[in-house]
Amino acid sequence: MRTRNRMGRPIRALAAAAALALVVAGCGTESGDTTPSADDTADAGFTPPDLPMATELGDFEGQVSLLAWPGYVEDGSTDPTVDWVTPFEEATGCEVSVKTFGTSDEAIQLMKSGEYDVVSASGDASLRLIAAGDVEPVNTDLVPNYADIWPFLKDRAWNSVNGQMYGIPHGYGANLLMYNTEVVDPAPTSWGAVFDPDSPYAGKVTAYDSPIYIADAALYLMKTQPDLGIQDPYALDETQLAAAVELLKTQGTIIGEYWSDYTVQLSSFKSGDSVIGTSWQIIANLAQGEKTPVEVVLPEEGSTGWSDTWMVSSKTENRNCAYAWMDHIASPEANAAATEWFGEAPSSSAACEVASEGHCEAFNAGDEAFAEELYYWNTPIEQCLDGRTDVTCTTYADWQQAWTEIKG
């Protein structure tokens, strides 16, 4: 009897938890009923929540909180000569605080907190932010420097809905293949170097730890296995996704580790634990600055890339400072400095006039044909982005599920 009595205690605790659960459930459902229908927006052909757009600007609030990719907001603390925040603070009196993120998913998660006024969103985040009502339409008339932005970056699928801009373009670039020049010989020219299961660098290959990396595999398949009929690495039907997943699972056997924190990738290239893998220009620059023998190459298959947009939170209380920041980062000087530091093409045509010699040429800035060759991060949705209507495509949720499976 005693034993039974003792066994009863956890059960009673569970019962208490269950009772509480019912109470909380009551509250939850109640508030659920009053939630606006924005939640129910269908996956695609979506209507963004009707949010007001700023019509005029007032006095600066004195502070602005930025959520940005590493290297997008530099105040001289990384490198004393790299600073485009201080001039902004001096001119506007808006104190800048910055939080960096490693993946687009992290940015979306953080934006939901409502604690950040402005975010630098890539194409795989921007539409989701718009659809969720986390960012508001941007009145480009209030951003004078918007006039200098390359026309081919305006009103695009990843930064606008129905002709309404939701942000100010920042810059664009390609994901690159980085390798250790002392170990990797001959120098790689193809993404095949990171997908070959018999790679001599097995155990020292690295890949980006995000479902969006599936697009890199899809791009490689698109060029090497035309039978699969992939037209756009972000528009994969089930068979195509399965092929990409298969390729990535095979890649998993030669992966040393996945990276999403750029400092981790820096350290493992420095220690030699990673010798080849996808990377960004800025990581290569920082690594070379630390005397790590690395080079980056744009492989022959082309590459996935990003086209980033500064967007304003719909919950911001520092709207004037937020607009001031967007105007500042689109100004020729700041845009040139920021994109040079990160290693990407500037979004402002005027930036090329003040940028260092060769910067705009190196990244083919303003070359529309080149820009169209890159496969910018995008959010995969049911309606195939490549225009196919006879199949449904896999969604980002499927990709996330697949990514968990790939890592095993």
């Binding site: 998913d105 992966i255 634990d273 996330q400």
Partner: protein, 283 residues
């Protein structure tokens, strides 16, 4: 005030027990309940907003998708391995501390065991990252033997976690052995038992509750860990990572909640087994 409290013992008791019971009931069980409820909702995969529609889809996915079974089994095996390694390492240390060392050394050793707990968890994990690096001390030591470092992966994860949680095993064992009267050991030896027999038939049975207590720490801490494995685990995923990734990169709070009921269930089973063995009442 003191007068009223003095005259009403029930009031005194309520004042004393009220706050902790509130904490247990509202903050602790309430959070668990909220977790369970969230797991019955779904998320709009495009916008990431939570939809409060009741369904069991999350649990169905959890049970039918092969990958989550693999992750659960892997996590369990890591937790068991860490617990066994810690128990094997901690026993001789605790025995030495409790029965062999002088008073003065006892104090020094207790401090030595506790000191690593003052260092940041992250620093210790990154230290092991350096240890397992291809150019690190382990590779350097293994080189003359013709071996290399196992690199970042399962082995590195187990070693790092075993290192991190070792003090939590040593301390209960040390306390248990402290309470073991020397006279018992002497009686055993007087009755003709050798060292091994004494250990097996006298020390271990008495020490069992302490081992279980220690194992609850090492097991549950390993079960929930996701940072160390991120740092030294290479591509290895544990339950904690799956929860973290589902929540942060997947932005799918309901499924993350469903996933985190697995470790809760495992711990409930573990605790009731420990309770049944009678180990808990001797703590």
């Amino acid at each position: 005030m003191t007068d009223i409290l003095h005259r009403h013992p029930r009031l005194r008791l309520a004042g004393l027990l009220g706050p902790p019971m509130l904490w247990l009931g509202v903050a602790y069980l309430g959070a668990l309940a909220a977790l369970f409820i969230t797991s019955l909702w779904t998320v709009n995969t495009f916008t990431g907003s939570i939809q409060r529609e009741w369904n069991l889809d999350n649990f169905r996915d959890l049970l039918t998708l092969e990958v989550y079974r693999a992750i659960t089994v892997r996590t369990l095996l890591i937790a068991v391995a860490v617990t066994v390694i810690d128990a094997l390492l901690a026993f001789p240390i605790a025995l030495f501390m409790a029965k062999v060392a002088t008073r003065r050394w006892q104090k020094i050793l207790v401090i030595a065991v506790l000191t690593p707990l003052w260092a940041s968890y992250l620093v210790k994990a990154y230290a092991w990252r350096a240890m397992f690096s291809g150019t690190g001390p382990i590779a350097w030591m293994a080189e003359p033997l013709g071996l290399g470092t196992p690199g970042y992966g399962l082995a590195a994860t187990v070693v790092t976690l075993a290192y991190l949680w070792l003090p939590y095993m040593i301390l209960p064992l040390y306390a248990g052995l402290e309470r073991l009267p020397n006279s018992l050991l002497e009686a055993s030896s007087d009755l003709g038992a050798g060292g091994a027999t004494t250990l097996r038939r006298v020390v271990l049975p008495i020490l069992m509750p302490a081992v279980v207590a220690g194992s609850i720490f090492t097991f549950s801490l390993t079960l929930g860990d996701y940072i160390a494995v991120k740092i030294v685990g290479g591509g290895t995923q544990m339950l904690g990572n799956a929860v973290y990734d589902t929540f942060l990169t997947g932005n799918n709070m309901p499924f993350a909640a469903a996933l985190s009921t697995i470790p809760v269930l495992i711990m409930l089973v573990y605790l009731s087994a420990a309770r049944r063995s009678g180990a808990l009442e001797n703590l």
